[in-house]
C-alpha cells in the first residue's frame, strides 16, 4: 500500500513540475470600485486582441496593493487596481519585496454619492451635517462632547426627524478614506471643531499636532449609528432595503444602475453626475488608478497592451464604454497615455 501512496505523491509532484510553465494571461486584483471598469476593459481586450482575457479579482485597494507588493514573478499579480493613490508605506513595502519600478496609471474620476431608499425622504447635505451626525465628539458651546445627536433633525433643523443610520464603507476600502477626507474632515473644519482639537492636540511638532487633530476629527461614533460595510455596494443596498431609515455611501456608477431603488442626496447643493464631477462642482470625488509592475512587461504577454488599451481614447475617453458606465473621464488622459507608452515609473518625476 505504501508503494501506492508514494506513487500518488510522485504524481502530484510530477504535475506540479510540468505545470510551472509561463503564465499567458494578465492577472489583476484590487479595488472593488475599479473592478467593473477593469472587467469591461478586460472583456474588450480579450475580444479585440489575440491575448487571453485578463483575470480581474476584487478585494479592496489595500488588499490588492498588498498582493501587488508581494514580489516579482509569475505567481504574483501584474496589476493592482486602486481607488486611491499608493501610499509611501506601500511603496516601501514593495521595494523591500523587490518591486521597484511601478507604473502609476490614472484612469479617471469617480464620484461618491449618498443615497437612501427611493420612497423615503430626500436630503440635501453639507459636509457639516455628516460630521455632526457621525463624529464621535462634536463641538457644543466651545467644548468637545460625546455626540448627542439621535435623529437627522438634531443635526440640522431642516431635516425630518428620521433616526440616524449610516452605512459607510469599511476601512479596507479606498472609498472610506475619501469619505473621511472630503466629508468628515471638511465638516470638522467647518464646524470649528478642528481648531479646538488642534489647540488641545499633543505632539512635538506642528505637523504631529495637525495629524493628531485630523485623527480625532475622523474618529467615528461606535454606538451603532455608523455601520462599516466591508462587502460591496450590493451589501449596502441590501441594508438600506431592510432598514428604510438608512443612508448609504455608494459609487456613482452603482447608483446609476439602481435608480429604481435609490434616491440620491445632493452635497453642498450639487446633484452628483458625471458632468458635475468632471467640472469639479460636486465635492466628493476621487481619482481611480491602476499600478503596473514594470518588471512584468515583456514577461507576461499582453501586459503593456492591456495598460495602453485601458486608457485608449476609445475606452476611457468621453464617449467610451467606461464613461458610459459611470467613470468621469480624465481631462489629462493624453498625458497618461504618453506616460504609459514611455513606461514612466513612480518617482521618476511623473
Amino acid at each position: 500500500m505504501s508503494v501506492k501512496l508514494t506513487a500518488s505523491a510522485l504524481a502530484i509532484t510530477a504535475v506540479a513540475a510540468t505545470s510551472a510553465a509561463a503564465r499567458d494571461q494578465v492577472q489583476v486584483a484590487g479595488s472593488s470600485t475599479v473592478l467593473p471598469y477593469a472587467s469591461i476593459v478586460a472583456e474588450a481586450f480579450g475580444e479585440n486582441f489575440d491575448f487571453p482575457t485578463p483575470v480581474v479579482e476584487s478585494g479592496g485597494s489595500s488588499a490588492g496593493l498588498k498582493r501587488f507588493c508581494e514580489g516579482v514573478g509569475e505567481n504574483t499579480i501584474d496589476v493592482a487596481n486602486a481607488s486611491r493613490k499608493i501610499k509611501d508605506k506601500e511603496i516601501k513595502a514593495c521595494a523591500e519585496a523587490g518591486v521597484t519600478d511601478i507604473i502609476e496609471v490614472r484612469i479617471g474620476y469617480d464620484g461618491i454619492v449618498f443615497a437612501s431608499d427611493i420612497n423615503g425622504s430626500g436630503f440635501e447635505y453639507t459636509p457639516t451635517d455628516w460630521f455632526l451626525a457621525l463624529s464621535n465628539e462634536i463641538l457644543v458651546d466651545g467644548k468637545m462632547v460625546a455626540n448627542p445627536n439621535k435623529t437627522w433633525a438634531d443635526v440640522n433643523a431642516n431635516f425630518p426627524a428620521q433616526a440616524l443610520q449610516a452605512f459607510i464603507p469599511g476601512t479596507k476600502h479606498g472609498t472610506r478614506e475619501v469619505f473621511e477626507d472630503k466629508v468628515i474632515l471638511a465638516g470638522c473644519e467647518a464646524t470649528g471643531a478642528f481648531d479646538v482639537l488642534l489647540a488641545a492636540a499633543e505632539g512635538a511638532t506642528d505637523k504631529a499636532k495637525h495629524k493628531a487633530a485630523e485623527k480625532a476629527c475622523i474618529s467615528l461614533r461606535t454606538d451603532g449609528v455608523s455601520v462599516d460595510i466591508d462587502g460591496d455596494y450590493t451589501e449596502t443596498l441590501a441594508r438600506i432595503e431592510s432598514n428604510k431609515d438608512g443612508i448609504g455611501v455608494f459609487g456613482l456608477a452603482f447608483y446609476e444602475n439602481n435608480t429604481d431603488k435609490l434616491q440620491v442626496a445632493t452635497m453642498s447643493g450639487i446633484v452628483p453626475s458625471t458632468e458635475s464631477i468632471a467640472t469639479g462642482e460636486y465635492p466628493v470625488s476621487r481619482p481611480l488608478f491602476f499600478y503596473v509592475k514594470k518588471a512584468h512587461i515583456g514577461v507576461i504577454p499582453g501586459l503593456k497592451e492591456y495598460a495602453e488599451f485601458f486608457i485608449a481614447d476609445e475606452i476611457a475617453g468621453e464617449d467610451g464604454p467606461l464613461a458610459e458606465y459611470g467613470l468621469v473621464s480624465d481631462p489629462e488622459l493624453a498625458d497618461t497615455q504618453t506616460a504609459v507608452a514611455d513606461e514612466a515609473v513612480l518617482g521618476s518625476n511623473m
Binding site: M1, S2, K4, L5, S8, A11, I12, V15, A16, S19, A20, A21, R23, Q25, Q27, A29, L35, P36, A38, S39, I40, A42, E43, A44, G46, E47, N48, D50, P52, T53, V55, V56, E57, S58, G73, E74, N75, I77, G231, D232, Y233, T234, E235, A253, F254, E256, N257, N258, T259, D260, Q263, E314, P321, E324, Y325
Partner: protein, 449 residues
C-alpha cells in the same frame, strides 16, 4: 389476572389496563407531545425547504430565457476590409468599435423594412442591443471573411434593461431616473415586438457561455465556470479516491493498533472539522507561493478541495470496511488466501457501495465550496473561453459554479442578480443528481448482514 380485574369493573385496582392511572396518562401525554414536537420540527423543515425552492425557482427561471432582436446586417466592405484583399490580419485590425456603425445602419434598414414610425435616432435605437452585438459580428466576420459584402440575418441579444422590461422587472415608472434607457426606447421595443423582430426565447448561452463584464449582464453564462467545476472534481476524484481508499484500507486492515495509529485516527476526524477557508490559505501558501502552480487554475482548486474531501472519504471508507463482517475475512483466510487477497478479493468489493456513496457525497460537498477558492484567485472576473484540451482545462484560469454565483450576486446591475439565482438552480440540479446517485447506489448494492 387481567380478566379478573376487568370483571370486577367499578372497584378496579391500580393495575387495570383500561382505566389509566395518572402516571400512565402523563407518560402517554408526554409521548403524544413528543410526537407533536417531532411533526412540528419536520413541518418547519419542510416549510423552509418549500420557501427556499419556490424563491429560487421564481427568481432564477428568468435567467434561462433572454430577449433577442433579429435583423439583417450588411457587412459593408468599406468598413471592414478597405483593401478588399480579405487579409485576415487586416480584418482583425478593425476593433469592435468599428462594427458599431454597421449595427446603426442595420437598425435604420429594419425600421424602413417593417414600416415602423419612430423619432429615435439610429444611435438611440442601437442602444437597445447588448454591447456584445459588435463582438458577435466581429467574431462572425473573422470566422467567415468570405461573407464580407453580403447581407446576413443575425440574432442579437437585447440589453439587460430591455430584457428586464420583457420580464416585468423594468417598468416605465422604474426607469424615471435611469440614464440607460428612455420611455421612447421602450415604445420602440413595443413596435419591434409587434412586427416580430424582438422575442424572448430560451437562452442556451446561459448554460454554455462564459462570464461577461458589468456592462453586458445579458451575455453572461455559467458554462465555462461549470467546466471549471468539472475539472476540479476530476482532480479531486483522481487524487482523493485512491489516496483515501488506500489510507483507510491500511488503517483498518493492516495497521497495528497502537498510539501512533490512534493519533492518526483522531487527526483525521479533526481534519474533517477544519473550516474550508483554512485549506484555501494552505493552498495559497503551498501550491501557489511555494510550488509555483498557476493562479486561478482549476488544478490548484482541485488540489485544495482534495485536502478538504480526503477526511470525508477516509471516514466513510473505514465505516464501509468495518461493516463487512469478520466471518468473510476468516473464511477467505481459512481457504488459504493471503491477507491482501482477502481484502482485495472479498472485503473491498463488499464495501464498494459504501465507499462510492461516501465519495459522491464528498464530491458534492466539494462542488458547492466557495471559501477556499477565494484565496487562490478563482473568484473574480474570469471570462476565459471554453477549454479545448484537458491540460488547458486544468491550467488556464477559470472560475467555479458557486464562485460565479457569488460574483454575480455582488454586481451592480439587477440583471446579474437574476443570473445568480439561475446559477443556483443549475448548481442544485448537479447536487441533487449526485446525491440521488449516492442513494440509488446504496439501495441497489448495499448488503446487510
Amino acid at each position: 389476572m387481567t380478566d379478573a380485574t376487568q370483571n370486577t369493573g367499578a372497584v378496579a385496582p391500580k393495575s387495570s389496563l383500561h382505566t389509566l392511572d395518572a402516571r400512565t396518562k402523563r407518560r402517554n401525554a408526554a409521548e403524544s407531545r413528543f410526537k407533536f414536537y417531532g411533526m412540528v420540527a419536520i413541518g418547519i423543515g419542510l416549510l423552509m425547504l418549500v420557501t427556499l425552492l419556490t424563491t429560487i425557482l421564481s427568481k432564477g427561471t428568468g435567467a434561462f430565457t433572454q430577449t433577442f432582436v433579429t435583423m439583417e446586417v450588411e457587412l459593408l466592405e468599406t468598413k471592414l476590409d478597405k483593401t478588399g484583399a480579405r487579409d485576415l490580419e487586416k480584418i482583425k485590425k478593425v476593433t469592435t468599435f468599428g462594427y458599431a456603425p454597421l449595427i446603426k445602419t442595420a437598425f435604420e434598414k429594419t425600421v424602413e423594412a417593417h414600416g415602423i414610425e419612430t423619432d429615435l435616432k439610429s444611435k438611440a435605437m442601437a442602444k437597445i442591443l447588448s454591447k456584445s452585438a459588435a463582438s458577435q459580428l466581429r467574431n462572425y466576420v473573422i470566422a467567415n471573411p468570405d461573407q464580407i459584402g453580403q447581407t446576413i440575418e443575425f440574432r442579437f441579444l437585447a440589453n439587460s434593461r430591455v430584457d428586464g422590461y420583457m420580464k416585468g422587472r423594468v417598468t416605465r415608472d422604474s426607469i424615471a431616473n435611469d440614464k440607460n434607457i428612455t420611455p421612447a426606447q421602450l415604445d420602440f421595443v413595443d413596435q419591434l415586438i409587434a412586427v416580430g423582430a424582438l422575442k424572448k426565447t430560451f437562452n442556451i448561452d446561459f448554460i454554455i457561455g462564459a462570464d461577461a463584464s458589468d456592462q453586458r449582464p445579458e451575455a453572461a453564462g455559467i458554462g465555462v465556470a461549470m467546466m471549471g467545476s468539472l475539472f476540479m472534481m476530476l482532480v479531486v476524484l483522481a487524487l482523493a479516491l485512491p489516496i483515501g481508499v488506500a489510507a483507510s484500507i491500511y488503517l483498518e486492515e493492516f495497521a497495528p493498533k497502537n498510539w501512533i495509529t490512534d493519533i492518526i485516527e483522531v487527526n483525521i476526524s479533526n481534519l474533517a472539522a477544519v473550516p474550508s477557508i483554512v485549506f484555501g490559505i494552505l493552498g495559497l501558501a503551498v501550491f501557489i507561493n511555494y510550488m509555483h502552480l498557476p493562479q486561478s487554475a482549476p488544478l490548484v482548486g482541485g488540489l485544495v478541495l482534495t485536502l478538504m474531501t480526503l477526511p470525508t472519504i477516509i471516514i466513510s471508507t473505514r465505516a464501509a470496511l468495518k461493516a463487512v463482517p469478520p466471518s468473510i475475512r476468516d473464511a477467505a483466510l481459512g481457504v488459504g488466501a493471503s491477507k491482501m487477497q482477502a481484502v482485495f478479493h472479498h472485503v473491498l468489493p463488499l464495501a464498494a457501495p459504501g465507499i462510492l456513496t461516501g465519495t459522491i457525497i464528498g464530491l458534492a460537498q466539494a462542488l458547492g465550496e466557495t471559501a477556499p477558492l477565494l484565496l487562490i484567485g478563482m473568484i473574480g472576473f474570469i471570462a476565459s473561453n471554453m477549454p479545448e484540451t484537458v491540460g488547458e482545462g486544468l491550467l488556464s484560469p477559470n472560475s467555479a459554479m458557486p464562485a460565479q454565483i457569488y460574483e454575480w450576486a455582488k454586481r451592480a446591475d439587477p440583471a446579474f442578480y437574476e443570473r445568480a439565482w439561475g446559477g443556483i438552480i443549475i448548481l442544485l440540479i448537479f447536487l441533487i443528481s449526485m446525491n440521488t446517485l449516492a442513494v440509488l447506489l446504496r439501495r441497489r448494492f448495499e448488503r446487510r448482514w
